[in-house]
C-alpha cells in the first residue's frame, strides 16, 4: 500500500529564513504529487502539484517543490518565509491507476513563523 512520510512534524522559523519540508512516498508506479496548506481556521487548499514534465514546480505564494523520482521525494521549499506562512502543510500522493480517486495524505507539518 502506498504511504506518505513527512519528516518534520513541527518547524519554527524566523521571518526571512528559508524553508524546506521533506516528503517521501512509497509507491513504485506513476504518481501525482501535491502539497496542500491549511491556514489557521481555513480550509485545506492546494499549494502546488506535479503530474509530469519539469520536476521543479512552482506554486502560489512563492512556494516550489522538486520531484526527485530516484529518491521518491517531493520536498517543498520557499527561499524566504513570512509570518503569514504559518500553517499546516500536507504532502499528498495520488495514483492514477486507481482512477485518481485515492489521495493519501502525509501526517502534516505545522510551520510557525516568528515575526
Amino acid at each position: 500500500a502506498q504511504s506518505v512520510s513527512q519528516h518534520n512534524h513541527h518547524v519554527i522559523l524566523s521571518e526571512a529564513a528559508s524553508l524546506e519540508l521533506g516528503c517521501n512516498y512509497s509507491y513504485g508506479g506513476t504518481v501525482n504529487l501535491f502539497w496542500y496548506v491549511q491556514y489557521p481556521g481555513q480550509h485545506l487548499q492546494l499549494l502546488l502539484k506535479y503530474f509530469s514534465g519539469d520536476p521543479l514546480v512552482k506554486g502560489i505564494k512563492g512556494f516550489e517543490a522538486e520531484f526527485i523520482k530516484s529518491k521518491f521525494s517531493f520536498n517543498l521549499r520557499k527561499p524566504s518565509v513570512q509570518w503569514s506562512d504559518t500553517a499546516e502543510y500536507f504532502c499528498a500522493v495520488n495514483t492514477p491507476n486507481t482512477g485518481g480517486f485515492k489521495t493519501i495524505f502525509g501526517a502534516g507539518t505545522r510551520l510557525f513563523v516568528k515575526a
Binding site: Y36, H43, K49, K102, F105, A107
Partner: protein, 114 residues
C-alpha cells in the same frame, strides 16, 4: 473562499441521535469525497462518489451512510455514533474524467459526539 460549502460548521450530537452533514459544490465536478480528520492527523478517505455512484468505501462503519442525490450535493447521514467518531469531516470535489487527484475542499463540519 472555497466553492465547496459544508453545513453545519459545528454539530454536537448524542450517541442515539440521527443527523446529517451536507456538502454542495458548484464547480461542475463529477467526483465528490468525504474525508475524516482527527486532531493533529491527516485527512483520511472515507467515501468517493463518481457520477453520483459510490465508487469507494474505505471500510467505513455502517453508522456512516453517504448519499449523493445529484452531481452537486453530497450528504453524510450519521446514526448511533460513538465518541471516537468526533472529528472534522471534510467534503471535497474534483474531476471524474482525466482525474489527476486534485481536490477542492470545503471548510469542514466539526462533529462532537457526546
Amino acid at each position: 473562499d472555497t466553492e465547496v460549502t459544508q453545513t453545519p460548521k459545528h454539530l454536537v450530537m448524542g450517541m442515539t441521535n440521527k443527523k446529517s452533514l451536507k456538502c454542495e459544490q458548484h464547480m461542475g465536478h463529477r467526483a465528490m469525497y468525504w474525508y475524516k480528520q482527527k486532531a493533529k492527523k491527516p485527512p483520511e478517505l472515507m467515501f468517493v462518489y463518481s457520477y453520483e455512484k459510490l465508487s469507494i468505501n474505505e471500510s467505513v462503519p455502517s453508522r456512516f451512510s453517504p448519499e449523493c442525490p445529484n452531481s452537486s450535493l453530497l450528504n453524510l447521514h450519521l446514526h448511533a455514533l460513538q465518541p471516537e467518531d468526533s472529528a472534522l469531516y471534510l467534503c471535497a470535489s474534483g474531476p471524474a474524467v482525466k482525474n489527476t487527484g486534485e481536490l477542492f475542499f470545503g471548510e469542514g463540519s466539526r462533529l462532537t459526539v457526546l
